[in-house]
Amino acid sequence: MISVQNVHKSFGDLEVLKGVSLDVPNGEVVSVIGGSGSGKSTLLYCINAIESINSGRILVDDVDVHSKSTNKDKLRQKLGMVFQQFNAFPHMSVLENAALAPRIVKKMSREEAIEIAKKELEHVGLGDKFDVYPTRMSGGQQQRLAIARALAMKPDFMLLDEVTSALDPELVGEVLDTLRLLAEEGMTMICVTHEMGFARDVSDRVAYFHQGVIAEIGDAKQVIGDPQNPLTQKFLSKVL
Protein backbone atom coordinates (compact mmCIF):
# COMPACT_ATOMS: atom_id res chain seq x y z
CA MET A 1 0.00 0.00 0.00
CA ILE A 2 1.11 3.51 -0.80
CA SER A 3 0.10 6.08 1.77
CA VAL A 4 0.66 9.78 1.15
CA GLN A 5 0.05 11.80 4.29
CA ASN A 6 -0.31 15.57 4.25
CA VAL A 7 2.68 16.11 1.96
CA HIS A 8 4.01 19.59 1.27
CA LYS A 9 6.60 20.25 -1.38
CA SER A 10 8.13 23.51 -2.62
CA PHE A 11 10.54 24.40 -5.38
CA GLY A 12 12.08 27.57 -3.98
CA ASP A 13 9.23 29.95 -3.24
CA LEU A 14 6.76 27.98 -5.29
CA GLU A 15 4.71 25.55 -3.24
CA VAL A 16 3.73 22.73 -5.59
CA LEU A 17 2.09 20.32 -3.16
CA LYS A 18 0.02 21.94 -0.42
CA GLY A 19 -0.93 19.11 1.88
CA VAL A 20 -1.73 16.09 -0.27
CA SER A 21 -3.07 12.89 1.26
CA LEU A 22 -3.84 9.76 -0.74
CA ASP A 23 -4.03 6.08 0.15
CA VAL A 24 -3.66 3.52 -2.61
CA PRO A 25 -4.28 -0.03 -1.40
CA ASN A 26 -2.78 -2.99 -3.25
CA GLY A 27 -4.55 -3.87 -6.45
CA GLU A 28 -6.09 -0.46 -6.94
CA VAL A 29 -5.60 1.75 -9.98
CA VAL A 30 -5.80 5.47 -9.28
CA SER A 31 -5.66 8.03 -12.07
CA VAL A 32 -4.54 11.54 -11.29
CA ILE A 33 -5.87 14.25 -13.57
CA GLY A 34 -5.52 18.02 -13.54
CA GLY A 35 -4.06 20.99 -15.37
CA SER A 36 -0.36 21.40 -16.02
CA GLY A 37 1.54 22.72 -13.02
CA SER A 38 -1.05 21.35 -10.61
CA GLY A 39 1.58 19.17 -8.92
CA LYS A 40 0.44 15.76 -10.10
CA SER A 41 3.77 14.69 -11.61
CA THR A 42 5.66 16.04 -8.62
CA LEU A 43 3.62 13.74 -6.41
CA LEU A 44 4.91 10.70 -8.33
CA TYR A 45 8.49 11.95 -8.11
CA CYS A 46 8.07 12.34 -4.36
CA ILE A 47 6.67 8.83 -3.97
CA ASN A 48 9.73 7.47 -5.77
CA ALA A 49 12.07 9.68 -3.71
CA ILE A 50 13.40 11.33 -6.85
CA GLU A 51 12.25 14.58 -5.26
CA SER A 52 12.44 15.29 -1.54
CA ILE A 53 9.46 16.58 0.43
CA ASN A 54 9.26 19.50 2.86
CA SER A 55 6.80 18.01 5.31
CA GLY A 56 4.35 15.18 5.72
CA ARG A 57 5.02 11.50 5.17
CA ILE A 58 4.93 8.95 2.37
CA LEU A 59 4.77 5.28 3.30
CA VAL A 60 5.30 2.45 0.85
CA ASP A 61 4.38 -0.83 2.52
CA ASP A 62 4.87 0.93 5.85
CA VAL A 63 8.39 2.09 4.96
CA ASP A 64 8.88 5.83 5.30
CA VAL A 65 10.19 6.83 1.87
CA HIS A 66 11.86 10.04 2.96
CA SER A 67 13.34 8.85 6.23
CA LYS A 68 17.13 9.20 6.30
CA SER A 69 17.52 5.54 7.24
CA THR A 70 15.61 4.31 4.18
CA ASN A 71 17.69 2.82 1.41
CA LYS A 72 16.13 4.62 -1.53
CA ASP A 73 17.78 2.49 -4.19
CA LYS A 74 16.29 -0.59 -2.59
CA LEU A 75 12.90 1.05 -2.19
CA ARG A 76 12.78 2.02 -5.87
CA GLN A 77 12.99 -1.65 -6.83
CA LYS A 78 9.43 -1.95 -5.57
CA LEU A 79 8.24 1.10 -7.47
CA GLY A 80 8.32 0.79 -11.23
CA MET A 81 8.21 4.14 -12.95
CA VAL A 82 7.51 5.13 -16.53
CA PHE A 83 8.00 8.67 -17.75
CA GLN A 84 6.62 10.97 -20.38
CA GLN A 85 9.93 10.76 -22.25
CA PHE A 86 10.57 7.16 -23.19
CA ASN A 87 14.11 7.17 -21.79
CA ALA A 88 15.23 4.00 -23.54
CA PHE A 89 18.97 3.47 -23.08
CA PRO A 90 20.14 4.24 -26.63
CA HIS A 91 23.37 2.24 -26.47
CA MET A 92 21.66 -1.06 -25.66
CA SER A 93 19.39 -3.39 -27.56
CA VAL A 94 15.80 -3.76 -26.43
CA LEU A 95 16.66 -6.97 -24.61
CA GLU A 96 19.67 -5.44 -22.86
CA ASN A 97 17.54 -2.46 -21.84
CA ALA A 98 15.13 -4.73 -20.01
CA ALA A 99 17.77 -7.10 -18.60
CA LEU A 100 20.16 -4.47 -17.22
CA ALA A 101 18.51 -3.64 -13.91
CA PRO A 102 17.64 -7.25 -12.95
CA ARG A 103 21.25 -8.18 -13.63
CA ILE A 104 23.07 -5.34 -11.87
CA VAL A 105 20.53 -4.30 -9.25
CA LYS A 106 19.12 -7.68 -8.31
CA LYS A 107 22.42 -9.42 -9.08
CA MET A 108 20.77 -12.09 -11.19
CA SER A 109 22.82 -14.21 -13.54
CA ARG A 110 22.84 -13.05 -17.15
CA GLU A 111 20.67 -16.02 -18.22
CA GLU A 112 18.13 -15.40 -15.49
CA ALA A 113 17.93 -11.66 -16.25
CA ILE A 114 17.53 -12.30 -19.97
CA GLU A 115 14.79 -14.82 -19.35
CA ILE A 116 12.83 -12.33 -17.26
CA ALA A 117 13.47 -9.55 -19.77
CA LYS A 118 12.22 -11.72 -22.64
CA LYS A 119 9.10 -12.61 -20.71
CA GLU A 120 8.24 -9.00 -19.93
CA LEU A 121 8.99 -7.85 -23.48
CA GLU A 122 6.63 -10.50 -24.81
CA HIS A 123 4.15 -9.36 -22.19
CA VAL A 124 4.04 -5.88 -23.77
CA GLY A 125 4.09 -7.18 -27.32
CA LEU A 126 7.76 -6.63 -28.16
CA GLY A 127 8.59 -10.32 -28.51
CA ASP A 128 9.95 -9.77 -32.02
CA LYS A 129 12.19 -6.80 -31.13
CA PHE A 130 14.80 -8.27 -28.78
CA ASP A 131 17.85 -7.33 -30.84
CA VAL A 132 16.56 -4.02 -32.20
CA TYR A 133 18.04 -0.77 -30.94
CA PRO A 134 15.41 1.52 -29.40
CA THR A 135 16.19 4.48 -31.66
CA ARG A 136 14.87 2.39 -34.54
CA MET A 137 11.49 1.91 -32.91
CA SER A 138 8.35 4.04 -32.83
CA GLY A 139 7.49 6.08 -29.75
CA GLY A 140 4.77 3.63 -28.81
CA GLN A 141 7.20 0.72 -28.97
CA GLN A 142 9.79 2.64 -26.95
CA GLN A 143 7.22 3.42 -24.31
CA ARG A 144 6.17 -0.22 -24.13
CA LEU A 145 9.85 -1.07 -23.74
CA ALA A 146 9.99 1.36 -20.81
CA ILE A 147 7.03 -0.45 -19.25
CA ALA A 148 8.63 -3.87 -19.78
CA ARG A 149 11.91 -2.61 -18.36
CA ALA A 150 10.15 -1.45 -15.21
CA LEU A 151 8.16 -4.71 -14.97
CA ALA A 152 11.34 -6.80 -15.24
CA MET A 153 12.21 -5.60 -11.74
CA LYS A 154 8.98 -7.25 -10.51
CA PRO A 155 7.74 -4.06 -8.85
CA ASP A 156 4.78 -4.09 -6.50
CA PHE A 157 3.61 -0.70 -7.73
CA MET A 158 3.73 1.18 -11.01
CA LEU A 159 3.95 4.97 -11.18
CA LEU A 160 3.07 6.30 -14.62
CA ASP A 161 3.82 9.91 -15.42
CA GLU A 162 1.84 11.03 -18.49
CA VAL A 163 3.17 8.09 -20.43
CA THR A 164 1.15 8.85 -23.56
CA SER A 165 1.65 12.63 -23.68
CA ALA A 166 4.71 12.53 -25.95
CA LEU A 167 3.19 10.03 -28.37
CA ASP A 168 1.71 10.59 -31.78
CA PRO A 169 -2.06 10.18 -31.48
CA GLU A 170 -2.16 6.93 -33.46
CA LEU A 171 0.34 5.32 -31.05
CA VAL A 172 -1.51 6.18 -27.83
CA GLY A 173 -3.82 3.18 -28.12
CA GLU A 174 -1.13 0.48 -28.01
CA VAL A 175 0.38 1.91 -24.82
CA LEU A 176 -3.01 2.31 -23.13
CA ASP A 177 -3.85 -1.28 -24.07
CA THR A 178 -0.67 -2.41 -22.32
CA LEU A 179 -1.64 -0.48 -19.19
CA ARG A 180 -5.14 -1.88 -19.35
CA LEU A 181 -3.63 -5.36 -19.40
CA LEU A 182 -1.56 -4.56 -16.30
CA ALA A 183 -4.63 -3.25 -14.51
CA GLU A 184 -6.52 -6.44 -15.31
CA GLU A 185 -3.64 -8.46 -13.89
CA GLY A 186 -4.07 -6.62 -10.62
CA MET A 187 -1.06 -4.31 -10.69
CA THR A 188 -1.31 -1.41 -8.24
CA MET A 189 -0.90 1.76 -10.27
CA ILE A 190 -0.94 5.51 -9.94
CA CYS A 191 -1.36 7.05 -13.39
CA VAL A 192 -0.94 10.72 -14.01
CA THR A 193 -2.82 11.09 -17.26
CA HIS A 194 -4.62 13.34 -19.68
CA GLU A 195 -6.52 10.41 -21.19
CA MET A 196 -9.95 10.87 -19.60
CA GLY A 197 -11.39 7.81 -21.29
CA PHE A 198 -8.59 5.68 -19.88
CA ALA A 199 -9.01 7.21 -16.43
CA ARG A 200 -12.75 6.49 -16.47
CA ASP A 201 -12.60 2.96 -17.88
CA VAL A 202 -9.47 1.49 -16.35
CA SER A 203 -8.99 3.11 -12.96
CA ASP A 204 -10.91 2.40 -9.80
CA ARG A 205 -10.63 5.94 -8.52
CA VAL A 206 -9.80 9.30 -10.05
CA ALA A 207 -8.20 12.20 -8.20
CA TYR A 208 -8.48 15.71 -9.58
CA PHE A 209 -5.50 17.90 -8.72
CA HIS A 210 -5.91 21.66 -8.58
CA GLN A 211 -3.12 24.02 -7.52
CA GLY A 212 -1.32 21.53 -5.33
CA VAL A 213 -4.28 19.93 -3.57
CA ILE A 214 -6.62 17.10 -4.39
CA ALA A 215 -9.81 19.01 -5.13
CA GLU A 216 -11.90 15.92 -5.69
CA ILE A 217 -11.37 12.18 -5.43
CA GLY A 218 -13.80 9.34 -5.86
CA ASP A 219 -15.07 6.51 -8.00
CA ALA A 220 -13.66 6.90 -11.51
CA LYS A 221 -16.97 6.87 -13.36
CA GLN A 222 -18.50 9.27 -10.91
CA VAL A 223 -15.66 11.84 -10.93
CA ILE A 224 -15.39 11.84 -14.72
CA GLY A 225 -19.11 11.46 -15.45
CA ASP A 226 -20.66 13.45 -12.66
CA PRO A 227 -18.08 15.62 -10.88
CA GLN A 228 -19.27 17.31 -7.69
CA ASN A 229 -16.65 20.04 -7.29
CA PRO A 230 -17.20 23.06 -9.58
CA LEU A 231 -13.42 23.14 -10.24
CA THR A 232 -13.54 19.57 -11.54
CA GLN A 233 -16.57 20.39 -13.63
CA LYS A 234 -14.80 23.36 -15.17
CA PHE A 235 -11.65 21.33 -15.90
CA LEU A 236 -13.53 18.43 -17.44
CA SER A 237 -15.70 20.69 -19.56
CA LYS A 238 -12.49 22.03 -21.10
CA VAL A 239 -10.78 18.70 -21.79
CA LEU A 240 -13.67 16.44 -22.72
Binding site: D73, R76, F83, N87, L100, A101, I104, K106, A146, A150
Partner: protein
Protein backbone atom coordinates in the same frame (compact mmCIF):
# COMPACT_ATOMS: atom_id res chain seq x y z
CA UNK B 1 82.40 18.01 -53.00
CA UNK B 2 82.72 18.91 -49.36
CA UNK B 3 83.22 15.74 -47.34
CA UNK B 4 81.29 17.26 -44.38
CA UNK B 5 78.06 16.47 -46.22
CA UNK B 6 77.22 12.92 -47.15
CA UNK B 7 74.10 12.11 -49.16
CA UNK B 8 71.15 10.24 -47.77
CA UNK B 9 71.64 6.50 -47.96
CA UNK B 10 69.84 3.31 -47.08
CA UNK B 11 71.89 3.04 -43.92
CA UNK B 12 69.92 6.03 -42.59
CA UNK B 13 66.71 4.00 -42.58
CA UNK B 14 67.32 2.58 -39.14
CA UNK B 15 67.92 6.08 -37.80
CA UNK B 16 64.69 7.38 -39.29
CA UNK B 17 62.73 4.41 -38.01
CA UNK B 18 64.04 5.09 -34.51
CA UNK B 19 62.55 8.55 -34.89
CA UNK B 20 59.26 7.11 -36.10
CA UNK B 21 59.19 4.67 -33.19
CA UNK B 22 59.94 7.41 -30.65
CA UNK B 23 57.21 9.65 -32.06
CA UNK B 24 54.73 6.77 -31.85
CA UNK B 25 55.84 5.92 -28.31
CA UNK B 26 55.52 9.38 -26.82
CA UNK B 27 52.24 10.00 -28.67
CA UNK B 28 50.70 6.77 -27.39
CA UNK B 29 51.86 7.53 -23.83
CA UNK B 30 50.44 11.06 -23.96
CA UNK B 31 47.15 10.00 -25.57
CA UNK B 32 46.57 7.13 -23.14
CA UNK B 33 47.47 9.07 -19.98
CA UNK B 34 45.82 12.25 -21.26
CA UNK B 35 42.62 10.34 -22.07
CA UNK B 36 42.42 8.56 -18.72
CA UNK B 37 43.10 11.75 -16.77
CA UNK B 38 40.76 13.65 -19.10
CA UNK B 39 37.90 11.23 -18.36
CA UNK B 40 38.54 11.57 -14.64
CA UNK B 41 38.86 15.35 -14.54
CA UNK B 42 36.13 15.79 -17.15
CA UNK B 43 33.74 13.80 -14.98
CA UNK B 44 34.83 15.81 -11.95
CA UNK B 45 34.06 19.03 -13.82
CA UNK B 46 30.68 17.77 -14.97
CA UNK B 47 29.75 16.85 -11.39
CA UNK B 48 31.38 19.65 -9.42
CA UNK B 49 29.95 22.82 -8.03
CA UNK B 50 30.78 26.21 -9.43
CA UNK B 51 33.69 26.91 -7.12
CA UNK B 52 35.62 23.74 -7.93
CA UNK B 53 34.86 24.27 -11.60
CA UNK B 54 36.20 27.81 -11.73
CA UNK B 55 39.37 26.64 -10.00
CA UNK B 56 39.86 23.58 -12.22
CA UNK B 57 38.90 25.52 -15.33
CA UNK B 58 41.46 28.22 -14.55
CA UNK B 59 44.28 25.73 -14.10
CA UNK B 60 43.38 23.84 -17.26
CA UNK B 61 43.17 27.09 -19.23
CA UNK B 62 46.82 27.74 -18.43
CA UNK B 63 47.84 24.43 -19.99
CA UNK B 64 45.59 25.00 -22.97
CA UNK B 65 46.69 28.59 -23.62
CA UNK B 66 50.46 28.57 -23.08
CA UNK B 67 52.21 27.25 -26.19
CA UNK B 68 53.40 23.68 -25.75
CA UNK B 69 56.96 24.57 -26.70
CA UNK B 70 57.16 27.04 -23.80
CA UNK B 71 55.72 24.48 -21.37
CA UNK B 72 58.30 21.94 -22.49
CA UNK B 73 61.25 24.26 -22.05
CA UNK B 74 60.01 25.70 -18.74
CA UNK B 75 59.31 22.28 -17.22
CA UNK B 76 62.54 20.74 -18.42
CA UNK B 77 64.57 23.71 -17.17
CA UNK B 78 62.69 23.83 -13.89
CA UNK B 79 63.20 20.18 -12.95
CA UNK B 80 66.85 20.56 -13.90
CA UNK B 81 67.22 23.71 -11.79
CA UNK B 82 65.79 22.10 -8.66
CA UNK B 83 68.26 19.26 -9.04
CA UNK B 84 66.06 16.50 -10.46
CA UNK B 85 66.87 16.49 -14.14
CA UNK B 86 64.63 14.17 -16.12
CA UNK B 87 65.47 12.51 -19.39
CA UNK B 88 63.88 14.03 -22.49
CA UNK B 89 61.43 11.11 -22.84
CA UNK B 90 60.14 11.33 -19.26
CA UNK B 91 59.99 15.12 -19.19
CA UNK B 92 58.38 15.20 -22.62
CA UNK B 93 55.84 12.52 -21.68
CA UNK B 94 54.81 14.39 -18.55
CA UNK B 95 54.32 17.73 -20.28
CA UNK B 96 52.64 16.26 -23.36
CA UNK B 97 50.31 14.10 -21.20
CA UNK B 98 49.19 17.05 -19.10
CA UNK B 99 48.75 19.17 -22.21
CA UNK B 100 46.64 16.40 -23.75
CA UNK B 101 44.68 15.99 -20.52
CA UNK B 102 43.78 19.69 -20.53
CA UNK B 103 42.11 19.33 -23.93
CA UNK B 104 40.62 15.90 -23.27
CA UNK B 105 39.02 17.17 -20.04
CA UNK B 106 36.84 19.61 -21.97
CA UNK B 107 35.97 16.96 -24.55
CA UNK B 108 34.79 14.49 -21.90
CA UNK B 109 33.10 17.07 -19.74
CA UNK B 110 30.93 18.00 -22.69
CA UNK B 111 30.14 14.35 -23.28
CA UNK B 112 29.13 13.65 -19.70
CA UNK B 113 27.07 16.81 -19.44
CA UNK B 114 25.28 15.90 -22.63
CA UNK B 115 23.73 12.73 -21.22
CA UNK B 116 20.14 13.67 -20.50
CA UNK B 117 19.08 14.02 -16.90
CA UNK B 118 15.81 12.22 -17.51
CA UNK B 119 17.67 9.16 -18.81
CA UNK B 120 19.65 9.06 -15.58
CA UNK B 121 16.50 9.54 -13.52
CA UNK B 122 14.97 6.59 -15.36
CA UNK B 123 18.00 4.47 -14.47
CA UNK B 124 17.78 5.50 -10.82
CA UNK B 125 14.06 4.71 -10.81
CA UNK B 126 14.97 1.11 -11.63
CA UNK B 127 16.89 0.94 -8.38
CA UNK B 128 20.32 1.55 -9.91
CA UNK B 129 22.73 3.35 -7.60
CA UNK B 130 24.48 6.58 -8.51
CA UNK B 131 27.68 4.76 -9.50
CA UNK B 132 25.84 2.05 -11.41
CA UNK B 133 24.15 4.80 -13.38
CA UNK B 134 27.50 6.47 -14.03
CA UNK B 135 29.10 3.23 -15.16
CA UNK B 136 26.31 1.70 -17.22
CA UNK B 137 24.56 4.77 -18.61
CA UNK B 138 26.50 7.97 -18.36
CA UNK B 139 29.97 6.76 -19.31
CA UNK B 140 29.05 4.63 -22.32
CA UNK B 141 26.70 7.24 -23.78
CA UNK B 142 28.97 10.20 -23.01
CA UNK B 143 32.11 8.51 -24.33
CA UNK B 144 30.49 7.48 -27.59
CA UNK B 145 29.17 10.95 -28.18
CA UNK B 146 32.64 12.52 -27.99
CA UNK B 147 34.52 10.01 -30.11
CA UNK B 148 34.92 12.43 -33.06
CA UNK B 149 36.30 15.22 -30.82
CA UNK B 150 38.55 12.73 -29.04
CA UNK B 151 39.95 11.68 -32.39
CA UNK B 152 40.68 15.28 -33.29
CA UNK B 153 42.62 15.88 -30.09
CA UNK B 154 44.52 12.58 -30.44
CA UNK B 155 45.58 13.38 -34.01
CA UNK B 156 46.81 16.82 -33.03
CA UNK B 157 48.82 15.31 -30.17
CA UNK B 158 50.74 13.14 -32.67
CA UNK B 159 51.67 16.26 -34.59
CA UNK B 160 52.38 18.30 -31.44
CA UNK B 161 54.76 15.59 -30.25
CA UNK B 162 57.21 17.01 -32.79
CA UNK B 163 57.79 19.87 -30.34
CA UNK B 164 59.29 17.53 -27.77
CA UNK B 165 62.39 17.66 -29.99
CA UNK B 166 63.25 21.03 -28.41
CA UNK B 167 64.21 19.33 -25.16
CA UNK B 168 66.33 16.77 -26.97
CA UNK B 169 63.97 13.86 -27.57
CA UNK B 170 64.98 11.95 -30.68
CA UNK B 171 61.61 11.80 -32.32
CA UNK B 172 60.87 11.90 -36.02
CA UNK B 173 61.32 15.62 -36.56
CA UNK B 174 64.59 15.82 -34.67
CA UNK B 175 66.10 12.86 -36.51
CA UNK B 176 65.12 14.49 -39.75
CA UNK B 177 66.68 17.80 -38.75
CA UNK B 178 69.93 16.04 -38.06
CA UNK B 179 69.78 14.24 -41.36
CA UNK B 180 69.09 17.53 -43.10
CA UNK B 181 72.13 19.19 -41.57
CA UNK B 182 74.26 16.25 -42.62
CA UNK B 183 72.92 15.71 -46.12
CA UNK B 184 71.71 19.18 -47.06
CA UNK B 185 68.68 17.58 -48.71
CA UNK B 186 65.88 19.30 -46.79
CA UNK B 187 63.18 19.04 -49.39
CA UNK B 188 63.28 15.31 -49.84
CA UNK B 189 63.69 14.58 -46.14
CA UNK B 190 60.86 16.86 -45.06
CA UNK B 191 58.55 15.35 -47.66
CA UNK B 192 59.53 11.91 -46.37
CA UNK B 193 58.95 12.91 -42.75
CA UNK B 194 55.59 14.46 -43.59
CA UNK B 195 54.65 11.18 -45.22
CA UNK B 196 55.63 9.31 -42.07
CA UNK B 197 53.40 11.54 -39.91
CA UNK B 198 50.59 10.79 -42.31
CA UNK B 199 51.26 7.05 -42.14
CA UNK B 200 51.21 7.20 -38.32
CA UNK B 201 48.03 9.29 -38.13
CA UNK B 202 46.01 7.70 -40.88
CA UNK B 203 45.24 4.36 -39.20
CA UNK B 204 44.00 6.18 -36.09
CA UNK B 205 41.85 8.43 -38.20
CA UNK B 206 40.57 5.52 -40.30
CA UNK B 207 39.72 3.18 -37.43
CA UNK B 208 38.38 6.07 -35.40
CA UNK B 209 35.89 6.91 -38.10
CA UNK B 210 34.90 3.27 -38.48
CA UNK B 211 34.39 2.94 -34.75
CA UNK B 212 32.36 6.12 -34.83
CA UNK B 213 29.98 4.72 -37.44
CA UNK B 214 29.71 1.43 -35.59
CA UNK B 215 28.92 3.10 -32.29
CA UNK B 216 26.59 5.78 -33.61
CA UNK B 217 23.58 6.01 -31.33
Amino acid sequence: MNSLFTPLSWSDTGYILTGVWNTVTISVVAIVIGTLLGILVGFLRAESNRFVNVLLGGILDVFRSVPLIIQLILFSTFVGAIGHPLGPFVAGSIVLSIYTMAFMTEVFRGGFEGVSQSLQTAARSLGMTYWQTVYHIRFPIGLRAVLPSWLGVALSVIKDSALVSVIGYMELLRTSEQLISRTQQPLMILIGVGLFYFIISYPLSYYGRRLERKMAL
